[in-house]
Amino acid sequence: MADLTVTTSDTVTLTGRKYGNEHTTTISGVNNVVHAVTVVPNATAFNLFSFGSSLQGFSSFVASDLKYMRFTNTDSTHPVFLTVSFDDGSPTAPDGASNIEIPAGCSFVAFSGEHKVSGSAVFSLDSMYRIQGRATGGDVTMDMFIATA
């Protein structure tokens, strides 16, 4: 088992004063890492990672084992959209999904494999089921990093 160190920082100077901060967190118990670069095609849903009850190959993980994941759109122009679906345990999955835009050069990160969409405020979440990417305007290259127990 290994420790994963994640640092986020942001800084901007306005009217002579610096705003922003730097945070570092150390996540212990990391046993599996996937660092991948892939082309996400334009206007087509593309499977990136899936989650299940057991580790199943290079791109399928146990949601409760997720420690950290990062998706970076390395393109300089086109956005990419992530569809993050979840499984509430009923026979047919997925049971809902959200969509997030990652503009050119930007990243999306998550430190947990729990997610849900509800019609009312929700505190008890479900396990992620699958993450898909879809570019618009042209293919984009995505840099992805995922660490699990």
């Binding site: 945070h23 890492v33 990243s107």
Partner: protein, 146 residues
């Protein structure tokens, strides 16, 4: 107007090999920056910030102007759940868990919770948070181009 520089670095060594990357992004034309630390309790969700068509106060961001949003859980033990609220025909609450020390990042103030894949997103109306078993401190940083 200023340039915001954001960076994400991750590093782990497994089998003697180092994995990870450093990602840097700059956002031009930043005019507004808001940075705050707030306590989030356990009993119910509290609003961290909201969005509106025009700027009405320090806690309200203008629609489509946010270039970078970071929510960091500063606690060492307890997690926090955030609900991204979309006020559309049917209310949608999009929930993510932020463990101790973790964060949630967005470079766009739009999301969708409709259940199927789409590239047409809705404006976020508010972001709410609730801690699990003890009050936690959360740091919020928002940079806007207005």
């Amino acid at each position: 107007m200023s340039t915001l520089t954001t960076k994400i670095t991750e590093s782990v060594t497994l089998n003697g090999k180092s994995f990870g990357n450093e990602i840097t992004k700059t956002h031009a034309d930043i005019k507004t920056a808001k940075q705050t630390v707030v306590e989030v309790g356990t009993g119910s969700f509290m609003e961290l910030f909201d969005f509106a068509t025009s700027r009405t106060g320090i806690g309200t961001a203008q629609d489509a102007k946010a270039q970078y949003i970071r929510i960091t859980n500063l606690d060492a033990n307890n997690f926090v759940v955030i609900n991204v609220y979309l006020d559309i025909a049917t209310d949608e609450y999009i929930a993510f868990k932020i463990p101790a020390g973790g964060c949630f990042l967005l470079c766009e103030d739009k999301m969708d919770g409709g259940g199927s894949a789409t590239t047409t997103l809705d404006q976020i109306d508010a972001v709410n948070a609730r801690a699990n078993s003890a009050t936690v401190q959360v740091e919020v940083f928002i940079a806007e181009i207005n």
